[in-house]
């Protein structure tokens, strides 16, 4: 599967563990997905499903004390997990960059926006001080911030949440990355700003042809933006495929639950959103077999025995649930 011309990123069997009382918990367990040039892939699931840690592992930033236990990450054909820390670091902020959920807390509060932008441009794009400043203003202009001069002199707390996220985006696109990792980029923002930020991302993508790996708990955001989608639950992949197919004909009961829980954008007479019942999974005490059993409406005895792996026979749209027929 690796090595095709359009392939940017290929993740296989990615397994990330954290020490926990009584052993080990797997925050990601056997994750496989690809990102092709210029495409947008979404990782979706409830909080704690391992999507954020998966995203961080791509930059070699799994938070201590966790670590990647198994798997491979190929970046443009090159295996990155076994590469040196130095090699991994050269990708960060140049070919791959990242934006975060909370723009309030991901800019250093004691330095001005300009200081942090110029610093990144000088270190990562190799610009001189003056060039970096000019470029910083261009970038701010490009992400739709007016009066860039004034913004550069501002401290992060002097900007609104939406403005800060635009600054983060400006920093992240500064080096024209091939892949942008976006960790819940709109979750902390109000609905209007959310729409604007997503539109901005799409626009930048259309201009630069960068790929986006978008992580969100909000299937609405994912389906609006993504070409492909990976559904995660308790560190496992439960379903993956083209966004349109997954949305139109979900195969896993969990995916269906997520779709039913989505507030509908159009005002219709359809049934109101139904949240998925039950508690989010406890990663230290998962049942054998399918992790979704305790909350699944269609649970049956065999669920405890199935291996949790995507059914590869279903080309381009895999599901970890072999009981498709259970649909009511």
């Amino acid at each position: 599967m690796n090595g095709t011309a359009s392939e940017l990123l290929a993740v296989r069997d990615l397994t990330i563990g954290f020490p926990a009382p009584g052993g080990l918990l797997l925050a990601a367990d056997g994750i496989d997905f690809d990102v092709a040039v210029g495409r947008t892939v979404g990782l979706v699931g409830e909080s704690g499903c391992g999507k954020s840690v998966t995203l961080r592992s791509l930059l070699g930033l799994v938070p201590y004390p966790g670590e990647v236990l198994a798997g491979t990450i190929h970046w443009r054909g090159e295996e990155m997990l076994t590469a040196s820390g130095k090699r991994q670091a050269t990708l960060r902020g140049t070919e791959i960059s990242m934006i975060f959920q909370d723009p309030t807390s991901c800019l250093n509060p004691v330095f001005t926006v300009g200081n942090q932008m110029v610093e990144t441009l000088r270190k990562r794009a190799g610009l001189g001080r003056r060039e970096a400043r000019t470029r910083a203003m261009e970038l701010l202009d490009r992400v739709g911030l007016s009066a860039p001069e004034k913004r550069l002199a501002a401290y992060p707390h002097e900007l609104s949440g939406g403005m800060r996220q635009r600054v983060m985006i400006a920093i992240s696109i500064a080096t024209r990355p091939r892949l942008l990792l976006a960790d819940e980029p709109t979750t902390a923002l109000d609905v209007t700003t959310q729409e604007q930020i997503l539109a901005l991302l799409k626009e930048l993508q259309a201009e630069d042809g960068m790929a986006i790996l978008l992580v969100s708990h909000d299937l609405g955001v994912i389906s609006e933006t993504c070409d492909e989608v990976v559904v995660m639950y308790a560190g496992r992949m439960l379903e993956a495929g083209y966004d349109r197919e997954v949305m139109r004909s979900p195969r896993h009961p969990y995916t269906r639950g997520l779709i039913e829980a989505m507030p509908s954008l159009e005002v219709t007479d359809e049934e109101p959103p139904v949240p998925i019942g039950g508690q989010p999974p406890d990663l230290t005490a998962l049942p054998p077999g399918c992790p979704f059993q305790p909350r699944c409406k269609f649970v049956r005895d065999q669920c405890a025995e199935i291996p949790v792996a995507l059914d590869a026979t279903l080309a381009e749209h895999g599901s970890a649930c072999p009981f498709e027929g259970v649909r009511s």
């Binding site: 052993g23 080990l24 918990l25 198994a70």
Partner: protein
């Protein structure tokens, strides 16, 4: 996810090895807390035992002079050597320890109890009492503590009495400040409000329910305070304003050895190192307790 399942996934032994490695790392990090507490308690217990059981252990009069055997270096007979008057330094350290340890523990307990009560009551009651206590604390804390203690020594005259009064008069303030701060948080907690609606008296609520929580932070702090109080008494004696000669006291012993430092290093140094040892002992206990309480308290609350 259990270790077995991972072992299965990674092909058995490999998975087990990963789990073992991660577990070992976690265990190593926890070990420090256990070791510190035990080592600290051992140091303090041994020193305290030797000091207070001194006559039983064969330590004779600390002021016994032997001018012919003056300034002898450490030997089997005199493990810490002898001073300018031929007195056995180890004996003097052991008897001096009684004064220092008693002083440090008593002043710490007194300041702890006094400060915590005053702070807790002020924080709970609020109003003019709280304002008054707060201002008083601010004023006491505004002085460099040694200046405040020296001022009190001015009033009482040099000696152990001045040191006792001075140290307690200074240190209560920090406990009061901590207790007050915790109390302001505690009194808004639900269980306090619930106890109030059940009709318990104010005093009962403060003392029975909130105090245990208030006390926790102070306990860790008090371990650092014991060290500080030993240092204070020895500093005062060193300056000639604390325990008066010939009574042995650790700081005074260091001062006595100062003049013969170059020729007879042991006279000042060995008693000094005992201070350091005991100080480390109490610090280790404080560290161990802090880890157990699960919060990283600072070494000293700040005076």
């Amino acid at each position: 996810m259990s270790a077995d399942a991972l072992g299965l996934k990674l092909g058995g032994p490999g998975g087990q090895a990963v789990v073992a490695r991660l577990r070992k790392r976690a265990a190593e990090e926890r070990r420090w807390a256990k070791v510190t507490l035990r080592v600290g308690i051992a140091i303090v217990a041994i020193v305290a035992f030797v000091c207070f059981a001194a006559p039983l252990l064969g330590f004779a009069d600390p002021n016994q002079q032997n001018l012919l055997g003056a300034l002898k270096p450490p030997s089997l007979e005199h493990p810490f050597g002898t001073d300018a008057l031929g007195r056995d330094i180890l004996t003097r350290v052991v008897y001096g320890g009684r004064i220092d340890l008693t002083f440090a523990v008593l002043t710490t307990i007194a300041a702890f109890v006094l400060g915590t009560l005053v702070g807790a009551v002020a924080g709970y009651r609020g109003g003019w009492l709280d304002t008054f206590v707060n201002r008083l604390v601010d004023t006491v804390v505004a002085f460099p503590f040694i200046v405040f203690i020296l001022a009190i020594v001015t009033i009482t005259g040099p000696g152990l009495k001045g040191a006792y009064i001075g140290v307690i008069a200074v240190s209560w303030a920090l406990y009061a400040r901590m207790a007050r701060a915790e109390m302001l948080v505690e009194r808004e907690r639900e269980y306090i409000l619930a106890a109030k609606t059940l009709g318990y008296s104010t005093r009962r609520i403060v003392f029975r329910h909130a105090l245990p929580n208030v006390v926790r932070a102070s306990i860790v702090f008090s371990m650092a305070e014991i060290v500080l109080n030993i240092l204070l008494l020895s500093s005062l004696s060193y300056l000639g304003l604390g325990v008066q000669p010939p009574t042995p006291e650790w700081g005074a012993l260091v001062a006595e050895g100062q003049d013969v430092l170059l020729t007879s290093w042991w006279v000042a140094t060995l008693p000094g190192l005992v201070i350091v040892l005991v100080g480390i002992g109490f610090s280790l206990i404080g560290d161990g307790i802090a880890d157990r309480f699960g919060r990283d308290f600072s070494l000293s609350g700040g005076e």
